[in-house]
Symmetry: C2
Subunit: 441 residues, 2 copies
């Protein structure tokens, strides 16, 4: 079986592909040695993108690409309202949270108005990684436990603490001694009538194993679209018994909304699909359409144990500029109804993909919520993941100037996660490129 | 003895001061409850700053303040070149490091050209905290050890890993089980002829203690201006025997340049003052004049063990916008010669402060490098820290519209760390406000 870390390598540009590149691309790729071996480039023929607008990207030659991958510029690339808000605030002032500033207060109040009333406190940070790093400590301080449960293919970020709670980084990476994993809720391959009960049982089992090893359970950290697991939205509400189990066990439920949050899945927050209220919510990526900004929202009593005892300061977070960018993004999400568009266009896309899957048996399953869709590439007639076919598919799409990516433990799930301003003409381009690639390779 | 955490509280606005505030300030301060109890405000009468230019800041009433504290806007507040570069790049494209982009390569090459040739690789992140979090893992992967030595009053950041290597956060905060501390190189109170040898001996002693507890030594993580320790630049070169000891012990020397770096101390990097070459350098705060940007620079062989084995991706880091802001900042530092100004004006300031100290015995010691200066507030005729007098001093300065802060384990050191465009007229305002406060309270 291919592990995630080898997939992260194979899915990327490799030094042996260097000779195939045109001179300019090769020169840029070669200069990347300065960044060291951790950095990965997408595609065997990497892209040098220099301009973007809406769902479209342009390389140095002016060639146009359709973006079906990037979830940070949810409002589309180079959104003028965000540019204007950042530029304006940079011309005024950009300090930190140890002075008073209206931007952070206005935005904090506006952001929390999108959530259930219990979630009445918010702290700002820079990245989803930092948000999850803080959220885990908040959960530990509140419960007095340390043990965190995640799914077996989860990715929650890049700090030392969170890397050790991110098994998808690779089987060779050490996990935290007090963490436990539950299986991915793979609705395509699992034979279970009741996904929620199945998952709740796994949580109970792992919490019991923690107890046996002298570890006190602190909470469950999950991304409710199960993105790195392979995109498994499941039926609305299936997380209800899972969250109940977590609370019965004395833990907290941390909703990692870095990927599903901010209207992508057709509700403002992914957890709304399940009619559950998290104890802690983390968010990031699309929050300020590309300006570094993330947050941890929590109930007052949950946050208190940490915050009363630990000073916490984050230099750049919550700055007037970050807050201006986040506010402009939230305003534009409402004005442009990205939630409605995610639901409507996401629905169209899901239907078209399902009809395509009936035509092409190598698409074994299509599932999604809003504009977060996964298409499972398999050996026809089976549910066996076909990773090489999936790589050929995204490389073929790239040759047709359509940008997608892969996810899941076998790296065989086509990840369809475009900017939220994706429209009918984008769907047409995407579907015809996909059909053509499936047909002609 | 007062601990750092109680100092962090006392030095800040307290809820009981609420009644003294004007209506608008009170309303803003009250609304901050939404951010939870971790957030601290400076001053008993907090500031609502809405505009800044150069070294000057303005509140909502148009009142002008002199900034002698903020080290993020090194080029001065609202620098037009940074605003222009960010705005321009936001109008073009802002993606991530999995596509090729010239900005990150141009900047990486330019940044490394400021360092010794051995430091030939660089990875980009968002904050000094993230940079130190990564640097410690790089050091651990390279050495095979885990034990990190820091000074007893160090602050290196806010992630879980780095909080446990930041004793200045407070005596109640748990430190890492495999870390050790060496004393602050307090040149004012220590009776030692040879600070470097003294410090090297402490490093050897702590590494031996690690060994005895079965912990392999990974490295020394220090800020060479010893900022949170109370600002102790020491004599140029004093770190040489310390770095030698670290290498003899098989560890790496991580220079945390988040505070001293980028020309503040009168050399481009703080470590240059000591004629030593770090194995790893971390940097942040002033790097992009307020846009979230940080980095880890390292020797290729040091970085390799981590980078070859661990994929690492940071969503917002190294983005075209962050790199445009960092490049504009570096360019402006050269054009405006912030290094020369830090040396020249820093020298003037140091002289004036030393002459003031001869007049006012409550200033026991003045020390600094470039525009990073500490003034030790003591009980006259002794070296005993006088924390209440220091608080009265910065509150008195604030009433005279001059913004400073305190540092050190006793919270009694006036921290003088202005934007690097500080000029003679700023020195005059600062010195007359300081003299007046010392005289009249």
């Amino acid at each position: 079986m291919t592990t995630s870390s080898t997939i992260m390598d194979s899915n990327s540009f490799r030094p042996e592909d260097m000779a195939d590149l045109d001179e300019r691309t090769r020169s840029l790729a070669e200069r990347r040695a300065i960044l060291g071996p951790s950095y990965r480039l997408f595609y065997h023929h990497p892209l040098n993108l220099v301009r973007g607008r809406g769902t479209r990207l342009f390389d140095g030659d002016g060639t146009e690409y359709l973006d079906v991958y990037n979830n940070i510029p949810s409002l589309g690339h180079s959104h003028p309202a965000v540019q204007e808000a950042v530029s304006r605030q940079l011309g005024l002032i950009n300090t930190h949270t140890r002075y008073l500033h209206e931007n952070i207060l206005d935005y904090a109040e506006d952001l929390l108005s999108t959530m259930p009333g219990e979630l009445n406190h918010v702290m700002f940070l820079l990245s989803g990684s930092e948000a999850n790093d803080l959220a885990v400590r908040v959960a530990q301080a509140y419960t007095g436990g340390t043990g965190i449960i995640v799914t077996s293919e989860a990715y929650h970020g890049n700090t030392e603490l969170i890397t050790k709670l991110s098994p998808s980084i690779g089987h060779d990476q050490p996990m935290a001694i007090d963490m436990r994993m539950i299986p991915t809720p793979d609705t395509y391959r699992l034979r279970t009538e009741d996904l929620g009960t199945w998952m709740a049982e796994h949580v109970r089992k792992q919490a019991a194993d923690m107890r046996r090893h002298g570890i006190a359970f602190a909470g469950l950290l999950i991304d409710d679209i199960f993105s790195s697991d392979g995109v498994f939205p499941g039926k609305p509400g299936f997380l209800k018994p899972v969250v109940e189990a977590v609370h019965e066990l004395g833990g907290v439920y941390i909703a990692d909304e870095v990927q599903p949050g901010f209207t992508r899945t057709g509700t403002f927050w992914g957890f709304e699909r399940h009619d559950v209220v998290p104890d802690i919510v983390t968010m990031g990526k699309p929050m300020a359409n590309g300006i570094a900004c993330s947050a941890v929202a929590a109930r007052e009593d949950v946050l208190d144990a940490f915050a009363q005892s630990s000073p916490y300061f984050n230099t750049f977070a919550g700055s007037p500029v970050a807050m201006a960018a986040a506010q402009a993004t939230l305003d534009a999400m409402r004005e442009e109804d990205t939630m409605g568009n995610a639901r409507r266009i996401g629905g169209v896309l899901l239907e078209e993909l399902r009809s395509l899957a009936r035509e092409f048996p190598q698409i074994g399953d299509v599932r999604g919520a809003g504009l977060f869709i996964g298409a499972d590439v398999v050996a026809p007639g089976t549910t066996d993941p076909d990773y090489p076919a999936a790589v050929r598919l995204i490389e073929g799409m790239r040759e047709r100037r359509v940008l997608t990516s892969l996810c899941g433990p076998f790296g065989n799930v086509l990840k369809i996660r475009p900017p939220l301003v994706f429209d009918e003409s984008d769907v047409d381009w995407f579907m015809s490129a996909l059909r053509d690639t499936l047909r002609n390779g």
